[in-house]
Subunit: 121 residues, 2 copies
């Protein structure tokens, strides 16, 4: 049994990696976007059509943040009408394991969750 006092601030220290990760994959759409890229859905318009209910603004905002975090790469082709292709970087691909585990835990324990109302659409 650990002495509690020794853990002072540890609560703030350990999950600091969690905070970093959450700031990268958190938000309503980022994981969906990453998953779309994993499925080779890599153009803005196609993503917009495939990810249900996402607005262009949220798609743009999320793509920009993922790019700023080095999770995705954005390649612009000088054509008209414009063509832009997104892809996962190696760092982005490294999120795959985590995303799968989040998904697995959720699927496995879905029925255990007492208050189903807590799960938002």
């Amino acid at each position: 049994m650990k002495k509690i006092e020794e853990n002072k601030n540890l609560i703030d220290e350990l999950p600091c990696g969690v905070k970093t990760t959450m700031s990268v994959i958190g938000g309503k759409w980022k994981i969906r976007i990453i998953y779309a890229l994993y499925l080779n859905i890599n153009r803005f318009g196609v993503m917009h059509r495939h990810i249900n209910n996402i607005s262009k603004k949220m798609l743009t905002d999320s793509l920009r943040e993922l790019e700023a975090d080095g999770i995705i790469h954005r390649k612009v082709y000088a054509e008209v009408p414009p063509r832009v292709e997104y892809s996962l970087t190696e760092l982005g691909k490294s999120l795959n394991k985590i995303i799968n585990e989040l998904n697995d835990w959720g699927l496995k324990n879905r029925h255990e969750l007492i208050d189903q109302d807590n799960i938002k659409e």
Copy 2:
């Protein structure tokens, strides 16, 4: 290479487990609380003192939600002043792996993140 059309709605289907998990561990304080319980910090007041900057309201709200989701257990002792002890359920303990992975990814890739400003306090 997968045919994109086959993946229609898959983007909404696969991460549905993710959504469940996120609704359980998401939010600003839940992982800190789970980690506190993991460290045997199990009383309201002690948690409040150990988790930096959390307000009583957020602590109460988060504890109630974790309880409703079956992640923690709340035991009230009929004493004065009141005593309440929280603990992780088996379901709660099963989150440990995921939390560690989130933490590890964050610690490992912290330096890779191009836009450090994206990481919020």
